[in-house]
Amino acid sequence: MAYISLREVCKVYPNGYCALKNINLDIEAGQFIAVLGPSGAGKSTLLRAMNALDPATQGEITIDGVTLNKKNYRKIRAHVGMVFQQFNLVDRLNVMTNVLVGRLAEHSWLSSLFYLFPKTDYQIAEAALREVDLLDKAWSRADKLSGGQQQRVGIARALAQQPKLILADEPIASLDPKASEEVLKLLRKICSEKGITVIVNLHQVEYAKQYADRIIALNAGWLVFDGSPEQLTAAKQAEIYGTTFEETSHEPELVLAHA
């Protein structure tokens, strides 16, 4: 059985807008998947449905044999890490505390009230920081780091959960090209070395082809492409985006239209 399976998943917002239409997907454990599509296609909605930040209104999502329902969201989230476009770190707290936040699902509210964590948590956090190469910044305030560093803290937080799945919602959209490559390399490394399934939302087709095992594309809530990077031909891209990457670079209006 697939590690993650989505069956006839739809998401309709209260105002009637349908963001996901009849999504059917099977994802094996350990894959690195890139999700492509124009803005508003439903990429974020898809990821956020998987950890129930924006639960699906129809259909079934099953992760590791457990089907999502209102009662088990927190349990599911304990082992699903998420990396955000805006990093979503707590600025005033130090890097170590931001990473330790990943361990909160395992503890009751009483110990959390006093900002106390057991030694084992510190060991896990340290390993996570080592993985993202930020041990030296462990005690700095989160808002004193650069964008790329903050995102790596976000990844360390996800790692601290000891997750089997990491969902990255446009993780590089706020980063410069160098930091973007660092982050994607890191995610790829985590996937290959630890066997963690990684699903990343991206705008850049080139990065998707470079790093992903499998590419999924959405357009207006529909699943329009599901295959290997080689299968993503220029023609297929045209279907997804309405035009190819080469063409868009010559026509500023079209580029802006797809921005």
């Binding site: 900002y115 106390l116 057991p118 030694k119």
Partner: protein
């Protein structure tokens, strides 16, 4: 405590500021408990009496009191509005004088600033006591007291708003060769207006509450009735008074929210 739980700091212990900010207040509380007669017994034994009191409130309201209640509540509202309006008018020029960058000379600046500090420093009720002594009973001393204290706060607030104004706009204006007064009027005041509205609404709210207790010392409003009905255990009236104050304050609160939204939208464009 289990020794293998730590705080997220380099040495595993809680940061000094955090510890102090918890320990110091607790220490002060413990040391001063006797000064305020803080004792568990007192509070505990008072609970049944308070319950008893609230039970007594559930009585038929004294309908005959309604006209007087209405009159006194109206008086309270009128005092608030009048005092606030007076204060706004007086505090605009004073606020300008008390702003470092708008004041004609440093001496006037200092004196105005200190004057505003002085009139702010006493609670309205104290001023009301003083004015009642001088002017006799009635709403006038209450209005004076409220207006005075409001001038103190509003003046300081206006001065501070003017001081943090964006100087680029002022420079732009001065480059056309206008006088200092004109630059104040056309560059500084308009920038201070949005914050001014916010603080005005807040001050209205504060003044309504203050006005409702000034009657305690005979300075008009519902305060006198409030205290007298408590002293005479006139439960029917107390409930009515408390309810009407609650209703009024809540009404003002909702109105301010609405007004705040509109004011941000620019309904107060002067030009």
């Amino acid at each position: 405590m289990n020794p293998s739980w730590y705080w997220p700091t380099p040495n595993g212990k809680p940061p000094l500021t955090a510890v102090l900010s918890v320990v110091l207040p607790i220490a002060v509380l413990v040391l001063t408990a006797s000064t305020v007669d803080m004792s568990y017994n007192k509070v505990f034994y008072a609970l049944p009496r308070m319950l008893d009191f609230t039970q007594h409130l559930w009585v038929m309201p004294d309908w005959h009191y309604l006209p007087q209640l209405g009159e006194k509540m109206l008086e309270t509202v009128e005092m608030t509005l009048l005092a606030t309006a007076l204060a706004v008018v007086i505090s605009m020029p004073l606020g300008i004088l008390a702003a470092k960058n708008a004041s004609p000379n440093p001496w006037i600046f200092r004196m105005t600033r200190d004057l505003l500090s002085f009139i702010r420093a006493l609670p309205e009720l104290v001023w009301a006591l003083v004015f009642v002594s001088a002017l006799g009973l009635g709403p006038l001393p209450g209005i004076m007291a409220l207006a005075l204290v409001t001038v103190g706060f509003m003046g300081k607030f206006i001065a501070e708003s003017i001081e943090v104004v964006d100087f680029k706009a002022v420079e732009g204006l001065e480059s056309t060769g206008c006088t200092k007064f004109q630059s104040i009027l056309y560059a500084m005041l308009p920038q201070a207006v949005p914050d001014f509205i916010g603080s005005l609404l807040y001050i209205l709210d504060h003044n309504l509450r203050a006005a409702s207790i000034l009657g305690l010392v005979g300075a008009g409003g519902i305060g006198y009735d409030m205290v007298m009905s408590m002293r005479l255990f006139n439960y029917e009236r107390i409930g009515m008074i408390a309810l009407s104050i609650y209703a009024l304050v809540t009404l003002l609160d909702r109105l301010s929210d609405v007004f705040r939204q509109k004011a941000i939208g620019g309904i107060l464009n002067v030009h």
